[in-house]
Symmetry: C2
């Protein structure tokens, strides 16, 4: 019974990271900066109750909600996604090119089904989202890291690595990146699309955080510069509506979109219908603008508290990113700290009981890169608890700093 497919071996490491991540989220005594969830205060429970009540009272809508539906998703949701979320960003598309997904992450799975044979290269940011890497590993892709700085992926290094590795795909999280919170600059967005077209490589633009911006100037998606069909734009309703509904969407041109539809059919036929109807009605009935305003206000306060707490409580020499939106900050402790080892103490020590995601797992390079780094998510934790948790974490780190200095000095 050990005759598992070879892909099970290649995904072992990243799958373990994901399992740990979800594990820590389940301990109610732990203050978790681990998962990438939004504030529970922002889940529109009451609005959804009203919508559902209404929808299921109408004969045809009720039957539709419980019946088989189209592989690409219901028209209503595709239409309102285009009018409210896609076209306002400068991307022109049609219902036939817009597919509803069972959560944003499904885009990575389906894109791998369509493009990735074992051994194919995917160029990723360094660091990049570990859950996507789990998917790339399952498809036995070879992830090659491209250098990044405060403006996102370095375009010279991207071009060099396109030439060197002949990749099948470039995976980018351009806005408030996971895990760093950084944003790809406008120039680089344009340049990436030019390179994709020039070297005939597809870009998977994974942009689930773009709509929760607290400061700075909004930037157009890479897809808005795409004239040759080389960009597939993927997004999620998890951050702007509800993660439990498992809804996402993508925009792609022919022939890619047809292949994605076949892969979707062979994955789960189609996305659950009731969540699609509820989500469509949420936008159609005009609930989004007010909800969006509140979402940004609540998360801005959390971001501000998180950033201040890092500056106040973390050891001297700690560096951090300065995200203009999204849910993540990336902190780099001084050299010598090992965030993977410290996480065990942070979650188990009864004086601490705080979780984060250790940095190492976000680097596909391996070789210990990022082992003094961590991703800190501020979305799901109220400001007072952010401050409390960060103070405890800071104390733990400072204690270790003293030990560390002593070891080095001795």
């Amino acid at each position: 019974m050990s005759k598992f497919a070879s892909r099970m071996k290649s995904m072992e490491k990243s799958a373990a990271v994901i399992r740990n991540l979800f594990g820590a989220m389940n301990d109610p005594e732990v203050i978790s900066f681990g998962g990438g969830a939004i504030a529970r205060e922002c889940l529109p429970v009451e609005t959804i109750r009203e919508i559902t009540q209404d929808v299921l009272q109408r004969e045809t809508r009720g039957i539709e909600a419980l019946s088989y539906g189209p592989v690409m998703g219901i028209n209503d949701l595709r239409e309102v996604t285009i009018s409210d979320l896609i076209e306002p960003k400068g991307v022109r598309t049609k219902v036939d090119n817009t597919m509803i997904l069972a959560g944003g992450l499904e885009a990575m799975n389906l894109m791998c089904q369509v493009f990735i044979d074992p051994g194919d290269v995917i160029l990723v940011e360094s660091p990049t989202f570990v859950h996507s890497v789990e998917i790339f590993d399952m498809f036995q892709a070879r992830c090659i890291a491209v250098d990044t700085d405060e403006n996102g992926m370095n375009m010279d290094d991207l071009e060099e690595k396109i030439k060197k590795y002949n990749p099948k795909m470039i995976y980018l999280i351009p806005t408030f990146q996971n895990p760093t919170g950084r944003t790809l600059s406008l120039d680089r967005r344009k340049k990436a699309v030019v390179l994709a077209s020039q070297y005939d490589v597809v870009i998977l633009e994974d942009d689930p955080y773009r709509d929760i911006r607290y400061s700075g100037v909004e930037l157009p998606p890479l897809k808005s510069f795409d004239t040759t069909g080389h960009v597939v734009m993927a997004n999620s309703f998890s951050k702007i509506f509800s993660p439990g509904s498992r809804l996402g969407y993508l925009v792609a041109e022919e022939p890619i979109i047809s292949k994605l539809a076949d892969a979707k059919s062979a994955t789960n036929s189609h996305t659950a219908i009731l969540p699609q109807i509820i989500c469509a009605e949420f936008f159609k009935r005009g609930h989004f603008p007010e909800h969006h305003k509140r979402l940004c206000a609540i998360h801005k306060e959390r971001r501000d508290t998180m950033l201040k707490s890092i500056d106040r409580f973390f050891p001297e020499g700690t560096r951090r990113t300065d995200p203009e939106g999204g849910l993540f900050t990336w902190a780099e402790l001084p050299a010598g700290f090992n965030t993977t080892e410290l996480l065990v103490e942070a979650t188990r020590n009864p004086e601490v009981k705080v979780a984060y995601v250790a940095g190492e797992g976000f680097f596909t390079e391996g070789n210990g890169k990022g082992n003094n780094c961590m991703r800190l998510s501020f979305g799901a934790v109220p400001p007072d608890k952010i401050q409390m948790g960060m103070e405890k974490l800071g104390k733990l780190f400072c204690q270790h700093e003293r030990k560390y200095s002593w070891t080095v000095g001795s």
Copy 2:
């Protein structure tokens, strides 16, 4: 931009069958015996409205419904699935071995992720479910057909082909099989499990129709005879609750279940939560027994009408199966008929406008096998329309029979 993964090539044929199948379902003027949906009269819209209303009124449940949840599915649904649907069939299991899926079809996708490398052999029934074949093709499995008769898969042929092909998996739909409606006999169920254990091959027992039985004696699942962990039992809520909810479940032992959970995490994180809660409450609040009784009564009438209509309207010499439950009959027209060609006329001719699924697509052997056969689904069509559609279809076939006889005689 033609650098698609090689699996896109291997799934081309079966994907086209699936696309056509869904296509015909969307023409409101066509009486469709194509899709495998249940009667819309059996969708518990009102009960689900009440449950949803109640669930979303409770603070914690409402938040749970909209938040990220466990990869394996919510405990409530796993528990009630075990108590109401699994243990009554003689299968003993635990919550840790029971996973909630995004529809029954997801079982095939995840099992392939876990077991199938390109070129690996899956033994399937001849004929077998074409949508599963689409998935097997996407994973570049080599499907080898095993002979079947009125009692399901032939066990001598199964053993011979296990020896000959060293398969990774045996795919069985034991009860009211798709497409034939036939049921694997008790002896063969036991024998299949013995063979799986003896030759160390995993059985994927796909059993979504088992709970809608109209006559005959209920048989225990293969999983109930499994003492060595070689059987993975998969099922769906699509036929007994609602297809649009995209819910299914599977039962598997370690280490398979852990691998399946990793594959699920890398596919869509987890199944949508609100449908899971609604479904769990549907069972917990005791709605199922009454619903189940009605489900069987309504579909029994449709089956009876369908069988009588075949006997009455189809050409002499037509053979058909005699299903004791489920949603399908399999009809074999006399040699010379080509159901693939006739389907074009059946759906387009304004005098007919009836759809079925042509038999050919269900045979992985190719070579024109089944080209005088068809799958007729009676679930989604009311009795009067079954009779009307079958009469039209019968007339079309009889007209062609005359043409055919004339050609042969001339």
